[in-house]
């Protein structure tokens, strides 16, 4: 009967399937009912997710509210046991709940029975980790219940007696037993039977490691798939695709969903579009002021922008809401770090790890703090831990590289930077770091390649070109050096950076001298005049101008007739003409 129930739900969804969001009321109905059903089975997180999403949609009139689930004969028989057990379950007395549920036949009661057994095993496992016999045995502590659960569930699975929730639990058990392939199959099946259950989708997200795997999954064609795809694109760092998906979800009518907003903010954070991410987070805080999830990401952004007051406000606010949350500890850690109180920051990150040892970000952040404290060995330890939790954590690899760079081992750190680069092939920071190492090792050819690549993938810190130019300068390749400086100046002006860049003056000075040597007086004087705008190059600029004037006067007869060949690219010439001191924003339109 439960199976039929699930089928009905599937059919219901299928009618609205195919990423079709035309009937939002129907979707809302489905969400409300699945939230209720998840709650009945003690699946708090899935229930929360569905409820949150339902909240973002228009309220339904009374007549359209989903009817309370129809009770079957079996349900009625198990009702007393279920009610009792559910209350025990809510009080975390899992063994007791399981005891009273034994022998129950209805789907709901059976699920709760199995689920409490699973949770009881998990709880015992956690307790046992504290007093296992020896440290080497610690890793061996297992959830003893898993094996039995697997046997029972697989029997039911073969007989096709499991509903969507049952399949989900079976998948979880398989995953805990490290049977990843089987687990994926079961989760996919669960998603087919009960597409509305977010938990199954989320588990799939954790198990799928690359795009190829995703391609070969046969997923049910429902609107839930869109949410799943958006989520997994974010996980797999395919930010462009993820943002597109989320945008279409918002367009479909989920604009008020805090879940989507937070995911978009995280996505922007991942591609380091700090301003957008910040504004979205601020919006999120307005809508959901007591939210703690994702606030660690928000604090990272504030940290990067050194927004002390905002970070301080956030930290205090979160601390008031709940100070024993991983995210809160992380925010406070960031706050202390920004105030350069690194010991305290490390302390808070440690606390976060005590609350959740698998909270990856804290290990990396703690590593950063130890780096600041110049405690390199502790930093290495922290980074290594981070890598242990997640081998694909590029920040930890990068941090390890930095540590060894500080220890003046440029060759040694190459390995770590390379690992980080492998994980984020399009991140310029790793490439610049690699380039710097190669430069230190005097391997200039490799260094050039790295800098060039860093520029090609979109340099965040805008330093790659200057470094490249300086390398060319060292190698006496003045032509290329000049090209690099020109590109650098174009870059700086085109992106409208208001911040005074240190190297701009160097670039102009080099260019002025370069044109002077090439006897291109117009360009040289333009650059020299630019030089005069900076403190450190003013004198040199003036001297050069004087020289140019002198030489021009000498060669007056020959050069006046010939129209000066203007080598410079359009934008640069525009930059350099001192008469047109336009704001950088206008200039950006000129750049190709």
């Amino acid at each position: 009967i439960g199976r039929a129930d699930a089928m009905a739900a599937a059919a219901m969804v299928a009618s609205a399937g195919g990423g079709d969001f035309s009937d939002l009321r129907e979707i809302k109905k489905q969400l409300l009912s699945v939230a209720e059903r998840s709650r009945e089975r003690g699946l708090q997180h899935s229930g929360k997710w569905a409820a949150e999403l339902a909240f973002a949609l228009e309220p339904l009139p009374l007549s359209e509210l989903p009817p309370p689930p129809v009770l079957t004969e079996e349900d009625a028989r198990d009702l007393d046991a279920y009610t009792l057990a559910k209350s025990y379950f809510d009080l975390k007395e899992y063994d007791r709940a399981a005891y009273f549920l034994r022998g129950c036949k209805s789907q709901k009661a059976y699920f709760l029975y199995m689920y409490s057994r699973y949770l009881s095993g998990e709880k015992k496992k956690d307790d046992e980790t504290v007093d296992s016999l020896g440290p080497l045995e610690k890793g061996q502590v297992k959830n003893e219940a898993l094996r039995e659960l697997r046997v029972e569930l697989s029997k039911k699975h073969k007989a096709q007696e499991l509903d969507g929730f049952g399949l989900y639990l079976y998948g979880v058990v398989l995953r805990k037993l490290d049977l990843v392939k089987e687990a994926i199959d079961v989760f996919v099946e669960a998603a087919h039977v009960l597409p509305l259950h977010w938990g199954a989708w989320l588990e799939l997200c954790n198990l799928i490691t690359d795009k190829e795997m995703l391609k070969f999954l046969s997923l049910p064609d429902t609107w839930m798939k869109e949410f799943f795809l958006a989520h997994i694109y974010t996980e797999l760092q395919l930010i462009e695709e993820a943002l597109q998906k989320y945008q279409s979800l918002i367009d479909a009518g989920f604009s008020k969903s805090t879940y989507i907003i937070s995911q978009i903010a995280v996505a922007y954070h991942n591609i380091r579009d700090i301003d957008k991410a910040l504004s979205i987070f601020n919006e999120l805080r307005k809508q959901d002021p007591y939210r703690i999830e994702n606030m660690d990401t928000f604090s990272n952004l504030l940290y990067v922008r050194s927004m002390k007051p905002e970070l301080s406000y956030l930290a205090h606010n979160l601390c008031e809401i709940d100070k024993y949350r991983v995210e809160t500890c992380c925010v406070i850690g960031n706050y202390y770090s920004l105030r350069s109180q690194h010991e305290k920051a490390a302390l808070y990150f440690q606390r976060a790890l005590k609350l959740n040892p698998r909270y990856l970000g804290a290990w990396t952040l703690m590593g950063h703090e130890y780096m600041e404290m110049k405690n390199t060995s502790a930093a290495i330890q922290a980074y290594r831990h981070a890598i242990e939790v997640n081998k694909r954590d590029y920040r930890a690899w990068y941090g390890l590289g930095q540590t060894y760079e500080i220890l003046k081992m440029p060759f040694y750190c190459l390995y770590y930077y390379r690992r980080a680069h492998q994980l984020r092939p399009n991140d310029s920071r790793m490439l610049v770091a690699l380039g710097e190492c190669y430069e230190k090792l005097n391997q200039l050819v490799e260094a050039k390649k790295c800098y060039w690549r860093a520029y090609a993938v979109g340099d965040v810190e805008k330093m790659a070109l200057v470094k490249l130019a300086k390398l060319h300068e060292q190698l006496n390749e003045s032509e290329q050096a000049a090209q690099c400086y020109i590109k650098y100046i174009q870059d700086i002006y085109s992106c409208g950076e208001v911040v005074e860049h240190l190297e701009v003056s160097t670039a102009f000075r080099y260019l002025a001298q370069y044109y002077f040597k090439c006897k291109l007086w117009d360009e040289a004087s333009a650059c020299a005049q630019k030089c005069c705008a900076f403190n450190d190059t003013r004198e040199e600029g003036k001297a050069l101008l004087r020289q140019i004037l002198q030489l021009r006067n000498q060669g007056e007869t020959s050069s006046t007739d010939v129209a000066a060949p203007f080598f410079l690219p359009a934008s640069l010439s525009a930059n350099n003409t001192p008469t047109r001191r336009v704001s950088p924003l206008n200039l950006s339109s000129v750049t190709p």
Partner: protein, 756 residues
């Protein structure tokens, strides 16, 4: 000659054979297996004088591996005890059964009683003995357990026991089914497997720290000394992964995993493991306050140094150099002279790969002596000797130096270096062309009892020196025509150094060289040609040289000449004198084959001068033979005979059989040629002696199965007999010649004109 240095790598895990790991506070804890051992010990104490002397001794020998080894199933333990003393095994089983099927209080009582064995005026167990320490460890670990832990221990004891019972039941069923004879066979087989096979670890529980340390140090020393006895790479890696899963802080396991990856030539994972190891080591170094900052910086230096070693091992010399520079810089900054010495030695190895530099090495030796690093110093001396030998320094001085360094080895009991030194001597004697001396040295090493065997009980078996010596031995046998013996030796090498191991390339090269020589002797040039590719892969210079020889044999003179000229220039550049002389000889041969004897002469003289200068005696004699042949052809056989006297002695004493044959053949030819001007009486005498010499040459050629040469000799002999009028002998020779001539294809070069 192989470079002896490759085995030099810093192995922090094995200093004095002890594993240094104290990452965790708890070193050992009580497990059901340990409890079974405790029961065994207490039973042993109780049995006391009832046990026979033999049984007692067997038990004592069993105890240590049991105490140190990994946990094992009860049935296996019982079997092990049964083999020593069946009576005791029964009582241990009964006591365990009582405990496991009784109550928790039985176990508590047992531990209370344990400490009694120390009390009394004459305690059964001495507190500081191995057994005493074990007992005290266990009692302490037990007392530390919390309530729930005690209960858990008890339940696991019950499980341990029940599992055995179940298995026994199954066994008994099986016993009824199978007949007793088969069972006996099975028992024997298990006995052969030995009581402590490491494969079994996988099925037992997690290792305690002590057991893990023991496991690691055992495997590491096996890897170093006798790789074939260590676990197979895959299963060792599995063990290590297991170990690391339970305790990622166990840094030494990473190092072993690095060594293991080196075995299978896996650059990627070996780098990964090495760096991981040092990341972990750095943190433990920082934790131990006794060393202070020093311990931490030290591991950094060695980290860079090891990375250099790794890259060098994989042939990334440029990378290795960069890493080494880094190590040197850090070591210099912190004034670590010992580390600097290690760096210097490595620097030498690296430089050697690129160009020679004695200065560095001399410096290294001096400094190492100064800092009291005998290992490095004598390694340096040996490298120096090796290099000087190539550079043609006086042989007596080199042998003196080796003797001095041998003194150093024996003084410090550096058995590994003693082996290397003997291998070095073998190689040097061969370089000088004294095959008998080389043979003697090789046999010395093989039949010597290693010092290590006395100390640790592990035979150093798969070191490079053994590979080198065995390879030389194989080649020496092949030269003398004992091909069966040679292939026997090579078979042994294959077993001892499996194809993926570090030194396998050595025997592969020698194997192919020997096959090549045989193919050339038989005149199967296409076979030889197919071997060239393999040789080139292992040693490019040797490969090119062999290619030229094949071309020459196939009468493709101009190609051979081109190749040889190129090779000559290259070898002169890298100062490989041995090869230069060989190449010169081949070029000369090309010339005289094209009947340009006058051009060949200066080339030969150049080769002779070089060979004399570098005291490569064997090559010198070979050059003389060539020279004599040229003179013979140029019509001055008397002169040729004169210089032949110089060369014939060393060739007969040390030469390969083929060369001996050629030499004798040449002598005979010269005798005949010079006899032309003699009086008839004298002429007959000369011809007769030439016939004798030809007979000798014939036996030599027959030994290595050189049919072409045999044919030539027979033809020549027939002519001589004819001249002497001995018809019967002449006919016999002619008949033999005819037989051979029908077998072999016609020769491109006129018969008498060839010397080889």
């Amino acid at each position: 000659m192989a470079s002896v240095h490759e085995s030099l790598y810093f192995n922090p895990m094995l200093t004095n054979g002890v594993v240094h790991a104290n990452v965790f506070g708890v070193r050992d804890w009580v497990t059901p297996h340990k409890m079974a051992l405790l029961v065994l010990l207490s039973e042993l104490g109780r049995a006391g004088a009832q046990l026979g002397l033999l049984e007692r001794r067997r038990l004592n020998r069993l105890l240590l591996p049991l105490l140190q080894g990994p946990d094992m199933a009860l049935s296996r333990l019982r079997k092990a005890i049964e083999e020593c003393c069946p009576h005791l095994a029964g009582s241990v089983h009964i006591r365990l059964k009582l405990m496991a099927e009784g109550e928790l209080k039985d176990m508590e009582q047992f531990f209370d009683d344990l400490s009694d064995s120390f009390s009394g005026t004459e305690p059964e167990v001495h507190k500081t003995s191995v057994v005493g320490l074990f007992l005290r460890h266990m009692i302490l670990a037990y007392n530390k357990l919390s309530f729930s832990q005690v209960y858990k221990l008890y339940t696991s004891l019950q499980q341990y026991f029940q599992k055995d019972e179940k298995k026994n039941g199954a066994d008994e069923n099986e016993m009824e089914l199978t007949n007793p004879e088969e069972l006996d066979g099975k028992m024997e087989k298990e006995e052969l497997d030995g009581p402590l096979r490491e494969e079994e670890i996988a099925c037992s529980g997690p290792l305690s720290q002590k057991q893990a340390e023991y496991f690691l140090s055992q495997q590491a020393s096996l890897l170093k000394n006798d790789e074939t006895k260590a676990l197979a790479p895959a299963s060792l890696q599995k063990e290590l992964n297991n170990l690391l899963k339970f305790n990622p802080d166990f840094a030494e396991a990473h190092y072993l995993s690095y060594l293991n990856s080196l075995r299978v030539q896996d650059v990627f994972s070996s780098t990964h493991s090495l760096l991981h190891y040092f990341d972990r080591l750095i943190l433990t170094g920082a934790e131990s306050k006794s060393n202070g900052d020093e311990g931490y910086g030290r591991s950094l230096r060695y980290a860079a140094l090891n990375l250099a070693a790794l890259h060098c091992r994989f042939g990334h010399y440029q990378q290795a150099e960069l890493a080494l520079q880094e190590a040197i810089r850090i070591a210099q900054e912190s004034n670590d002279h010992v580390c600097l010495q290690h760096c210097l030695s490595w620097l030498y190895i690296l430089e050697q790969k690129i160009f020679d530099s004695c200065v560095l090495l001399e410096h290294s030796v001096n400094k190492s002596l100064h800092f009291g690093l005998p290992y490095l110093a004598s390694l340096g001396i040996q490298s120096l000797v090796q290099q000087r030998a190539f550079a043609g320094k006086a042989a007596n001085k080199l042998m003196d130096a080796l003797k001095d360094s041998d003194l150093l080895h024996w003084k410090h009991s550096l058995s590994e270096l003693i082996d290397i030194s003997i291998a070095q001597k073998t190689a040097i004697w061969r370089l000088y062309g004294r095959s008998t001396m080389a043979l003697q040295q090789a046999q010395t090493l093989l039949s010597m009892n290693s010092l290590e065997a006395v100390n640790v009980g592990v035979q150093q078996n798969n070191t490079e020196s053994f590979a080198v010596v065995l390879c030389h031995l194989a080649e020496l046998h092949a030269e003398q025509g004992y091909f069966a013996a040679a292939s026997e030796i090579l078979k042994h090498l294959k077993e001892r150094f499996p194809p993926n191991s570090q030194h396998a390339q050595l025997w592969m090269l020698f194997d192919q060289k020997i096959q090549f020589e045989r193919a050339m002797n038989d005149g199967r040039y296409h076979v030889a040609d197919s071997l060239v590719a393999g040789i080139t892969a292992l040693n490019s210079i040797e490969g090119v040289y062999r290619k030229a020889i094949v071309l020459k044999a196939q009468n493709q003179m101009s190609e051979a000449h081109k190749l040889l000229q190129k090779l000559l220039i290259h070898c002169q550049k890298i100062k490989n004198t041995e090869m230069v002389i060989s190449v010169l000889l081949s070029i000369a041969e090309l010339y005289w084959r094209s009947s340009c004897h006058t051009i060949a002469l200066p080339v030969l003289l150049q080769a002779l001068a070089l060979a004399r200068e570098y005291s490569l005696q064997y090559l010198a004699s070979e050059t003389v033979l060539n020279l004599a042949f040229s003179q013979l052809i140029l019509g001055i056989p008397e002169q040729a005979l004169n210089i032949l006297h110089m060369a014939i002695e060393p060739v007969l004493a040390h030469g390969a059989v083929l060369d001996k044959g050629c030499a004798m053949f040449l002598v005979a030819k010269c005798q005949v040629a010079s006899a032309a001007s003699y009086t008839p009486q004298k002429k007959i005498e000369a011809l007769e002696s030439a016939i004798l010499n030809l007979n000798e040459a014939k036996t030599y050629f027959a030994k290595v199965d050189c049919k072409e040469q045999l044919r030539d000799v027979l033809y020549f002999q027939a002519r001589l007999f004819h001249t002497l009028g001995k018809t019967q002998e002449r006919n016999k020779c002619a008949m033999l010649f005819r037989q051979l001539h029908q077998e072999l294809p016609a020769h491109g070069v006129p018969l008498i004109n060839a010397f080889k």
